[in-house]
Amino acid sequence: MATPRALVLRTAGTNCDRETQYALELAGFEAQCVHILRITENPALLDETQLLVLPGGFSYGDDVAAGKILANQLMHHLAEPLTRFVQAGKLVLGICNGFQVLLKSGLLPWAKVDPAAANRDATLGWNDCGQFVNRWVHLRANSDKCVFIGKGEVISLPIAHGEGKFVPRDNSVLETLRAGDQVALRYCDAADNTGGDKANPNGSIDDIAALCDPSGRVLGLMPQPERFVTATQHPTWTRGNGRSLDGLRLFQRAKQALS
């Protein structure tokens, strides 16, 4: 098949766009970083794209709330083309700040870009420790549905965020997400045990680190897969731990899902 095209959306305060583009290229995508204003001027750019990536960073300084302003732009200027994009079975990946944007625009959890529904059923709040944290975590892949990660694996990726605590509106939302197989990743420890402060870096409810939509083709995650695409990015590579490149594999599976 033709090389799939990925579009990395950037705006003021985006800051993981370059390495995300590099990771996508390593995984076999044709990738480019595009400013939000180019897309609002010409939404047809999305027609030529198979994977839309919202990378990490501090879009608009996270003023108001993390990801809020960019989410508003998506809802008010791009609702129709984005809905078409998702309905066509194309992939959306929101990493860190991108995950926050997906939740606040309605693309997650229900794949509806809709101001009325957005940010109603789940949100990402301040970490329990009250500050930004950068460290590596273990994650258990949990969903059969999610096309980005294979169920049952324990993977290792870094987190770097201040507002990453996943909070559903209530227990029924949580139950719906679980029942729908939408919980893509859970924080765990190296031995695959969940629960406890050591494993869960931000206090996320039910240890949830990533969520997909009901189709499994829209994924938002707090950990940063673009930061583990080469061996020397792992914190213990000098100890001779030959780990698989868990971040790179996520992008590679996205490519497979498009073929």
Partner: protein, 862 residues
Amino acid sequence: MGIDAEGVTTARRYELLGAISDDQRDLIARRLLANAVIEDVHYQAYTPGELVAREYQLQLRHVPIGDLDDAALERLSADGDLFLNLTEMRAIQQYFRAAGREPTDVELETIAQTWSEHCGHKTFRSDVAVYDAGGTLLEEIPNLIKSTIFLATRQLDRPWCLSVFEDNAGVIAFDDDYAICFKVETHNHPSAIEPYGGASTGIGGVIRDPMGTGLGALPVANTDVFCFGPVDMPLTDVPTGVLHPKRVMRGVVAGVRDYGNRMGIPTVNGAVYFDEKYLGNPLVFCGTVGLIPRDKCFNHPKAGDAIVVVGGRTGRDGIHGATFSSGELTHAHETQFSHAVQIGNAITEKKMLDTLIRARDGDLYDAITDCGAGGLSSAVGEMGQELGAEVHLDRVPLKYAGLSYDEIWISEAQERMVLAVPAENVEPILNLFASEDGEATVIGHFGLADRKLRLLYESQVVGELDMEFIHEGLPRSTRRAEWQAQRHPTPPPPEQDDYTDTLKRILAAPNVASKEWIIRQYDHEVQGGSVIKPLVGATHDGPGDAAVIRPVLASNKAVALSVGMNPLLGELDPYQSALHAVDEALRNIVAVGGNLDHTAILDNFCWGRCDRPDLMASLVRSAKACYDAAIAYGTPFISGKDSLNNEFKTESGSNITIPPTLLISAISVIDDAGKCITADAKAAGNFIFIVGRTAAELGGSHYLKVEKLPTGNDVPPVDTAANCRVLKAVQRAIAAGAVRSCHDLSEGGLAVTAAEMAFSGQLGMELNLTAMPVGSTDTHGQRPIPTAALLFGESAGRLLVEVPPESFDTFCRAMGEVPFGELGKVTDTAALVIYGPGGGAKPLIDADVAELKAAWQGTFDW
């Protein structure tokens, strides 16, 4: 949202609960919640009267100077916050007498800023007459910095040094396509008054240095080093006008975190030091490394180029920052100079950066520089030095109306840069900024036939100065240096049977203890180039020696960054202290697999008032040591900065002067990131070797400090030639693949280094000090060495390395003639056991590794 806005104002509402007095309420509101520079406090419901500030009406102000006598000139300098001395004021008076007129306020301000210590580095560029304590002239040094630091770089003449001491950052070659540049700045005075704002604009400012180097570099890493007062000091001991050190530390860390993280630049390396003498004057060093294409390393504004200001708008913040930072702080400064602290907005800077890199790659401009200290005054003044420049101050975009012409000219509002743009590119560049939702504005042009700086407001000339006078008119001065050798008693340390508790106390000492609380708040992996992180080891929480990043993701080439600093030694012996600092920075580079042959260093001097001959003498000694060390190790200086007058005058009139503090930052280019190593012990059964000699001296050591023993002057002497051989031998051994882990010996000496390697690797170690090479090179171990010096001595030029049995021979061959000794092995016992020379039944140290780690981690477990 479809609303037409004429003006917008924002407010925050706080509700204070509980019984508090009006005084307490005021204190909380004004000191903790509001920033007096930009905010008002109201205690009742408040509706702003006027949203749009009143327009400024031009009122040209002249300052009569021609007829003033010396006393009046000095008064004018003091009252106008010009911070100029009498000789300088006289030179200005003469210039305007010759011109037959009086200066305008903006002309005086322009000269004061260009000639400020902050911008002009007068002290370092002055001639120095050095006297001994008896008043005998020992030597005369013309232009101190040229005779020391610059001279070393010139003599070393490394082909990979591309641009040194010329631009906003020093530039060295990286590979065929790219160069890297590095600059380290201080932002001390603002951080003392407003830690969060001071530190965030400190990092924001130094990021613009690489961005303003050549035709603009992409920032790829930040470093930060802080010096604070003791964080456990009782509040009642903190003098008036000084913030508690813990509050300063929290504010500074948060400021660097919020700005650096939002910029998407990894903060990868740093250090923190604590000393009572930093109480009134904390030090905040911020560094930024940039990546720049080889063909974009230089810039030349051309006559006719438009002057274009880009980025943030100009406001009243940061006025007099350059001159303010050139004086000493007093207890009244907090209120007097609150306007000197700038206000940062990282996203404005990020947006500007994203756009500038695109403009650079489109070859849209001829030159670029940042608006740092001195604002437009210094940026346009520097760029137009050879060409002259005309600036229409009324065209500068403002945050709010009402700024006078001189406020616009000297404002240090953040996130602004100045470009020289050829006429044909003006429209494309304005369009490019608009397309990224940014702002760019033409405010004048470079190139006047008479090489003048001409300032206009609404077409009326408000200032006109000769570029030659601004830049070359500063009278040269000769400083007096008089070295007062200090003699402190140096009793030999007591001998103990067991040093286990001593080791734990040193590990918990604030200068040694884990800084994980800080490190984790910084994004140190953004941009994806992380190779060696600031924390290393089996559970990612042990201390690293140097950070390593790959700035070009598609390449395996890497850059190592490290620091060396030892304020405890600075006061005892500024010469040896500087040698130690250089040695430590380079040891750290070598310890991760760095290449000494492609390593450059940077200097940052923070001193007290150098009009005091004794401090001037200590500055001279330190600068001379910098020259000696750079030559001995073959590592050229490529950039530097000094911040003098770091003193604090308390209400009662006494002065707190910081210890002479020299920060050395090192940057090394590594060919293969995959060959780097870390400090954590890797496997039981591997040999542990020490490389380098241990001297008997303990002066300025953390052992003496922690044990509250008197600190003598006996700083361990640095044999730079011998140490250079040690570093090169270790570099050879690492390159040969014979070393699994390597850690430098610094604060706390051998015992601390061994403990850190063991607990980082979740392993134990059993060592015996019999084979430890001791004594200085001269004494060859003739003197008896106190046990404390073996365990905790801080001699430079030493590293501890872990060598697998199969690499034993390779390692020994790589060592050649340098002193080294086999101390023992890595064990899987979870204990650190160290026997004294000759062994014996009872070890000097027998500690559970987990307990050592707990001691090291407990201090800042905030």
